[in-house]
């Protein structure tokens, strides 16, 4: 990409208790993209995020955010241009929703009317009633609170938003709704997002670029399609084939298509029904019982076709792998 990166990490090492949490890691995140860092817990992905937000000081290496070196002088300026969504819903309990949402525009000295307008739009996008503004956080459900958390992060229209496992504490329905909300707001504002998750499905859904983090290093950085099709080693392959067998129903069918199961062209003489690529395998069992082939779509384009045989092939591979 021709643009200068929004985040540029060069040879970063972070040491915790004389152990390297991050080991000589370099990473560039480019404007307007959603970069997902995925990996098992303890692999260092949250440390990367904390290093970028200045909460953790690297032992060595260099960090540029929007061209500014991350140091004590620039820290506050960089932070004010950064949105942040945390795993724990961190709305301030002493403030109303409105006060929570206007706090950051206020300390950034943004126009109050413009900020109010943005907040209203985002509330509508998040399907939160406007009278929630006068409520206190503890009057809202967890999912609703995290929506407010997202609105707060996007509310100042920052160039960069860091999201640290933002949905992992939520139930599956809320999680999916918030993923969609994040994607649609991103489409609207076009800012850069660095997103941390340990959920491979979430990574594939959210990421335009995905970095697989293990032992403080990025072992593969690629588009979702390439990661699934050409995993650089067995670790990545297992990760994306849904190593946890009991959760196989939760695998997105898009992944099957990307991994080469099924076909690029329709199966002949079979009735077709089209489905979104982020439906899960579990959903498809029933659909395939009624329809003989599925046209899998992503962003309103058909990316491939699956029939019962392709599903069986996938399951068979999984069974042998285990």
């Amino acid at each position: 990409m021709p643009n200068t990166p929004v985040i540029q990490l060069s040879n970063i090492s972070v040491v915790y208790d004389q152990q390297k949490a991050i080991d000589d890691l370099s990473l560039s995140v480019y404007p307007h993209e959603i970069m997902v860092l995925v990996g098992e817990s303890g692999g260092g992905k949250t440390t990367i995020l904390r290093t970028i937000s200045g909460l953790v000081k690297p032992a060595s290496g260099h960090i540029l955010v929007n061209g500014l070196t991350l140091n004590d002088q620039n820290l506050r300026k960089i932070r004010l241009n950064m949105g942040y969504v945390l795993q724990q819903i961190s709305l301030f309990p002493n403030m109303t929703i409105n006060q929570n949402l206007t706090l950051l525009p206020e300390i950034k000295h943004q126009s109050k009317t413009a900020a109010d307008q943005t907040i209203k739009e985002l509330m509508a996008a998040a399907k939160l009633p406007i009278d929630y503004l006068s409520k206190y956080p503890n009057e809202l459900s967890g999912g609703e609170q995290q929506r407010v958390g997202i609105i707060r992060a996007f509310g100042t229209k920052p160039d960069l938003i860091l999201m640290d496992e933002p949905f992992s504490a939520l139930d599956p329905v809320s999680r999916e709704q918030l993923q969609d909300l994040t994607l649609s707001i991103h489409q609207h504002f076009n800012n850069t997002i660095l997103f941390i998750t340990h959920d491979m499905n979430e990574a594939l859904k959210m990421g335009q670029q995905i970095g697989v983090v293990k032992d403080g290093q990025i072992i593969q950085l690629d588009t979702p399609d390439n990661l699934v099709r050409h995993p650089s080693n067995d670790y990545v392959r297992t990760l994306f084939n849904g190593s946890e067998a009991h959760k196989i129903e939760n695998v997105y069918i898009r992944r099957l298509v990307l991994a080469g199961y099924g076909r690029k062209t329709p199966f002949e003489k079979l009735p077709v029904t089209s489905v979104e690529g982020d439906r899960t395998l579990g959903d498809c069992y029933q659909l395939l019982a009624q329809n003989q082939q599925l046209a899998v779509r992503r962003n309103s384009q058909v990316i491939g076709y699956l029939n019962s045989e392709s599903i069986l092939n996938f399951l068979a591979t999984k069974a042998t792998n285990n």
Partner: protein, 512 residues
């Protein structure tokens, strides 16, 4: 004591309102200073663990020092009146506010403080927008605890002339007047309830109203609208400060001192500070020139101020005792001890006038013939003193069937005829009130306690006219006269100033 007596004090007594205002003033000033010290201390300590522990230890230790000790330490340094009282109250008030604030600030969910940091809030923005608002409840609880503590402890301020409701409590104890004590005690309890309620109400306000209400209250206080007459410890050059111990008798004496001094020199302005709680407070205030004169007993000088176990006081005449006290005060403390009054305020054995008449009792020796038929009601201290009951046994050969009584109850018991003799002080107004009579100590068992004005040598040298004026009281006022005057103040509720002036005029010490 009756309900009406209490109601009387609450409603009709302007003195009560004044004491209440003094109490409110002491409480508010001390509380505000305690808040201003404790909260910033806790804010600083939240990021400095070692400092936090030191501060907590220090404030806790201060809390354990008895308040009387703190006052005793402070008097020579900052003087008497409201200043040492406020300092002592602040010392007590800091701990609850500090520890509550510190605990609240350090137990905030770290996710929230971290979020605020990552959002780019400055240290101060984090403190004022997030950390302090999240700690408000806990801080207010600390303030409430401090307030109750301060209101309670402020009753002791009366001991060092800072006024307040404690004056009622101390006077009540001194005069065995339960209504008076209850007035002070109930008053301060109600004050604590009202303050707690106000603070709770304050805590329910929105942050903005909190600032407005708090700011206005502070401003009003600073403007002195709430402040009643405030005693200050600084002594103006033209001013002579005369203090006295707790009770009507010293109060009457210092009023006489004032009248005489002001009659001698119209330009001198005398300031009176009555109702000091302890000999040591007064003496240390005199040493450090916080006050100029106070009346002290010869016996107290030799027993409490300059105690010496080798000194022989038995069988010494009143004049000998006075000269011993005068010489030792001059030698050890560079002080001048003026001429003593007539009366001897010491232990006495008391019986009813009727009983004395029937059995022709005049002296303690006269009791000998009745001793097997007598019930006595001596208090515990008298029973255990060598110059008390033990002396009666040894010197007079007396022995009674005694019931130990509370000082307060002795006079009630003899009035109801439950006992026939009790101990008392020779100038107790109850002797007059209940038609009792004091039997003469014909074998000189009881020590001599003669009152005389005490001042520093430097002061006496600088004000010879004052010394001369006070000398007019030498040899004046008999025990009977003092009893009458105490009766006028304690029972008839005539002001000490009026009683003092009346005496001086009747004895031609002061022109009408």
């Amino acid at each position: 004591m009756s309900i009406t007596a209490i109601t009387h004090f609450f409603t009709a007594n302007a003195k009560f309102i004044n004491a209440l205002m003094e109490h409110v003033y002491l409480t508010l000033i001390s509380l505000i200073i305690a808040i201003v010290i404790a909260i910033p201390l806790a804010v600083y300590a939240r990021n400095h663990r070692i400092f936090a522990h030191i501060a907590l230890g220090f404030t806790s230790i201060m809390q354990t020092i008895p308040s009387l000790a703190i006052l005793g330490i402070l008097i020579p340094i900052v003087g008497i009146g409201s200043k040492p009282a406020i300092i002592a109250l602040v010392i007590y008030g800091i701990l609850p506010i500090y520890s509550n604030t510190y605990t609240a600030l350090t137990t905030i969910d770290p996710n929230l403080t971290e979020a605020a940091e990552v959002f780019g809030l400055t240290k101060w923005q984090r403190l004022f927008r997030i950390e302090l608002p999240l700690s408000t409840d806990s801080i207010l609880t600390g303030i409430k605890t401090s307030t109750v503590l301060i209101i309670g402890t402020a009753t002791l301020a009366a001991l060092i002339g800072a006024g307040g409701l404690g004056t009622f409590i101390l006077l009540g104890i001194d005069r065995s007047n339960t209504a008076l004590t209850l007035t002070g005690a109930i008053g301060s309890a109600l004050l604590a309830v009202v303050f707690s309620w106000l603070i709770t109400r304050f805590g329910r306000l929105k942050a903005k109203s909190m600032v407005i209400v708090g700011g206005t209250a502070l401003l009003l206080l600073l403007l002195g609208i709430i402040a009643p007459k405030v005693y200050t410890a600084t002594t103006q050059p033209e001013k002579i400060v005369i203090a006295g111990k707790l009770g009507s008798e010293p109060d009457i004496l210092i009023n006489m001192y004032r009248d005489l001094i002001e009659a001698g020199d119209k330009k001198i302005d005398v300031d009176l500070k009555p109702n000091f709680g302890k000999t040591s407070f007064l003496f240390s205030a005199l040493k450090s020139n916080q006050i100029n004169i106070y009346p002290e007993f010869t016996g107290t000088v030799l027993e409490d101020i300059i105690p010496n176990s080798e000194r022989q006081l038995q069988n010494k005449s009143a004049t000998q005792i006075y000269h011993m006290a005068k010489n030792e005060l001059a030698a050890k403390y560079n002080m001048t001890y003026g001429s003593p009054l007539n009366y001897n305020n010491t232990y006495t054995v008391v019986t009813t006038q009727k009983f004395a008449k029937r059995h022709h009792l005049h002296t303690i020796s006269d009791l000998k013939k009745l001793q097997n038929r007598l019930h006595s009601g001596f208090d515990l201290e008298f029973m255990n003193r060598d110059d008390g009951y033990k002396g009666l046994v040894k010197k007079y050969g007396l022995s009674f069937n005694n019931t130990d009584l509370d000082p307060d109850l002795r006079y009630q018991a003899i009035r109801r005829g439950q006992v026939q003799v009790i101990d008392g002080y020779s100038t107790d107004s109850q002797i007059r009130q209940y038609h009792l009579v004091s039997l003469r100590d014909n074998k000189h068992l009881f020590p001599t306690y003669q009152g005389a004005p005490l001042m520093t040598k430097a002061f006496a040298k600088k004000h010879p006219a004052v010394v001369k004026q006070l000398h007019q009281l030498a040899g004046k006022i008999t025990a009977k006269e003092m009893r009458e005057m105490n009766y006028d103040v304690n029972v008839k509720k005539i002001s000490a100033a009026k009683v003092a002036r009346h005496y001086l005029q009747r004895h031609h010490l002061l022109r009408k």
